[in-house]
């Protein structure tokens, strides 16, 4: 009796194990060969042959090495990228998660729970990469880009000094180092995550470099986005309109010229050589509004000052982060754009706009309605998912750095502000059509 029980049990165990490995295996060899065959990636007397297959150490991807038939090249495969990707993701698969077994509750619903574990289906989201070094290497990543990336303390620990997290690509965690790349342009359609990214950046810098950071925040959306940072001790100025913007930029410009002279007299080339730790960040949100300033002088001055900042500010310890929906020439002169070494581009309307921002197509084909997906362009382009930061989290990070500044006269708002009384009989409005 006992023997029968044990043997049946062990056989069941073997069956279960084999079923588990069968459903949870990650072998796409047959699929890849089939797709290649159906795409016409073969010659008259030869076809794709698997040479080696190995799983990566971190368990994130499988690498398949193929010998390609003579007469084909890497580009033939790369051009079929979409077909491979969709083919490998074409069904949802069963996936048994053994961790769920620990969480089983022993009650009436036990069979149902077991069923849900065994028949658990997940939608595949694989990502592939081609490489050629005499053999065709196809790397299949089990997980493509995540759609949702929370900004948390772990992420803060991954960046040091003047680095800020850009997000994750399907391969790696990507950060932007302001010591290497001093300027950053952020572009993209509204509601896709520009301002959220700026908040990530400011919060990270306040947390990592509380004593060496100076911030000038220029928000031409009305100053709402950055209002929470106003009282931080790192924040020099928050500008909300044309006047304040000009004032802030003029101040920086004067400071910059003084610094330049000081460096000249001391024979320092740049801020690194000077050994100063302080960095001054100028963050501009909705920069296109600068081109809408009422006054011609204001507009030209602001554009000029930004240009100067981009041109000579980098070496003197100034860092410009410029966010706008769409950087056309009236907003953002190409000379300035040439000085920006990195750009982060969220979804744009069409390929023409993408050409303006990135000098290549691609930003228009980012997924619709998925906030935070962007192309990060430095010396190469990578598609990333930028992290989403919760306002409570920002609060918890910046709380220690808040000091209540005395309000200056012009900032204070009278409590009993009366509306201007109507004196005129007629009201005139000027409407642009």
């Amino acid at each position: 009796m006992l023997f029968e029980l044990v043997s049946t049990g062990s056989m069941l165990g073997v069956l279960g194990a084999s079923y588990y490995f069968k459903t949870n295996q990650k072998d796409d060899t047959d699929k890849i060969l089939k797709i290649a065959d159906n795409c016409g990636l073969y010659t008259d007397d030869d076809e794709l042959r698997l040479y080696r297959k190995n799983r990566s150490k971190d368990g994130k991807f499988t690498e398949y090495v193929f010998k390609i038939p003579l007469g084909l090249e890497l580009d033939d495969f790369v051009s079929k990228y979409g077909k491979f990707k969709d083919g490998l993701n074409n069904t949802s698969v069963r996936s048994i998660d053994l961790k769920q077994i620990k969480k089983l509750k022993l009650d009436k619903s036990l069979p149902k729970q077991l069923e849900s574990i065994i028949f658990n289906r997940v939608q595949l989201n694989k990502e592939i990469e081609f490489e050629y070094d005499g053999m065709l290497k196809i790397r299949v990543y089990d997980e493509g880009l995540t759609k949702d990336l929370p900004f948390n303390n772990e992420m803060l620990l991954k960046v040091k000094n003047w680095e800020v997290p850009i997000g994750v690509s399907y391969k790696e965690f990507i950060k932007h180092d302001f010591e290497k790349l001093q300027m950053l342009v952020v572009a993209g359609t509204t509601r896709y995550g520009k301002t959220v990214f700026l908040k990530n950046l400011i919060t990270t810098l306040i947390n990592n470099q509380p004593d060496n950071l100076k911030l000038t925040l220029i928000d031409l959306k009305g100053g709402l986005a950055f209002s929470r940072y106003v009282n931080c001790k790192q924040v020099n100025k928050v500008a909300k309109n044309a006047e304040e913007t000009i004032e802030a930029l003029e101040f920086i410009h004067d400071e910059m010229q003084q610094r330049q002279e000081l460096f000249l007299t001391n024979g320092w080339e740049d801020i690194k050589e000077a050994g100063w730790k302080e960095r001054h960040f100028i963050v501009v949100d909705e920069g296109a509004e600068i081109a809408m300033f009422e006054n011609k002088e204001d507009r030209e001055r602001a554009t000029f000052l930004l240009g100067e900042l981009a041109r000579i500010g980098a070496g003197l310890g100034y860092r410009l982060v410029f966010a706008t929906q769409y950087p056309t020439a009236d907003v953002f002169p190409r000379q300035v754009k040439a000085n920006t070494t990195a750009s982060l581009c969220f979804k744009l309307k069409n390929s023409t706009q993408s050409m303006v921002v990135l000098d290549r197509k691609g930003a228009e084909s980012l997924p619709v309605g998925l906030a935070g997906r962007a192309i990060y362009q430095t010396d190469r382009d990578r598609v990333v998912q930028t992290p989403y930061i919760q306002n409570e989290f920002i609060k918890s990070i910046i709380e220690p750095h808040i000091i209540i500044k005395a309000r200056s006269e012009d900032q204070s708002v009278p409590h009993n502000q009366k509306k201007a009384s109507e004196t005129r009989k007629y009201i005139t409005e000027f409407k642009e059509t």
Partner: protein, 204 residues
């Protein structure tokens, strides 16, 4: 990107932006606004921008944005091959003559009062420098009676203080000397200047 390429792209973008602002421009006008130097050079520059532009050939080339050009500068307004494009061209001559003011706004409606005593008027263009208004009107194939009605409306607006304390300046553009005199007669007592198209045509 090379420096020259960047400069070229910058110039192209600037040309597209002014077309976005002013709808239709002749080659000569573009030449003046963007300082394209010789005719030959201007033709070359605009030829290189073919993919973004539609062109009407009517003695001189008249350019306006096509779909791709509109995308390039984020322009919502679709421009067609109108028969009335001459009206726009005349307006642009004034734009250049007044020194390409940045405060220049096309087609501004001025609405004053309510219901019964509402007066509304659509200017061809308006320049507002502080409290001082300059009103641009183009008279191309318009009945003189209509023009006089419009001038009267401006008088009423003026009395109602729609333009503030300073007297607004009116700049008219018309086709013939006869009409010029008619307009001057009709707008007696207003601060007015009238030009004819002959003052600008073919002039650099």
């Amino acid at each position: 990107m090379y420096h020259t390429t960047r400069k070229k792209l910058q110039r192209q973008e600037n040309i597209l932006l002014s077309l976005k602002k002013l709808d239709y421009l002749t080659r000569l006008q573009l030449q003046i606004i963007h300082d394209l130097k010789s005719d030959r050079n201007a033709q070359r520059v605009l030829k290189a921008m073919e993919e973004y532009l539609h062109v009407i050939k009517e003695g001189e080339n008249i350019y306006y944005l096509n779909a791709k050009g509109r995308e390039m500068v984020n322009c919502e307004k679709v421009r067609k091959k109108l028969t009335t494009y001459q009206h726009y061209i005349m307006r642009n001559y004034l734009y250049i003559a007044l020194g390409c003011p940045v405060e220049w706004k096309n087609e501004v409606s001025i609405i004053n009062g309510y219901k019964n005593d509402k007066v509304s008027c659509r200017t061809d263009a308006l320049i507002q420098k502080g409290d001082f208004y300059t009103i641009i009107e183009v008279d191309h194939e318009q009945k003189m009676i209509e023009n006089i009605k419009k001038i009267d409306k401006y008088r009423i607006l003026r009395q109602r203080g729609a333009f503030g304390l300073l007297a607004p300046r009116f700049v008219w553009m018309t086709t013939t000397d006869y009409r010029k005199n008619e307009l001057l007669k009709a707008s007696e007592g207003l601060n007015v200047e009238v030009y004819t198209i002959e003052d600008f045509k073919g002039r650099k």
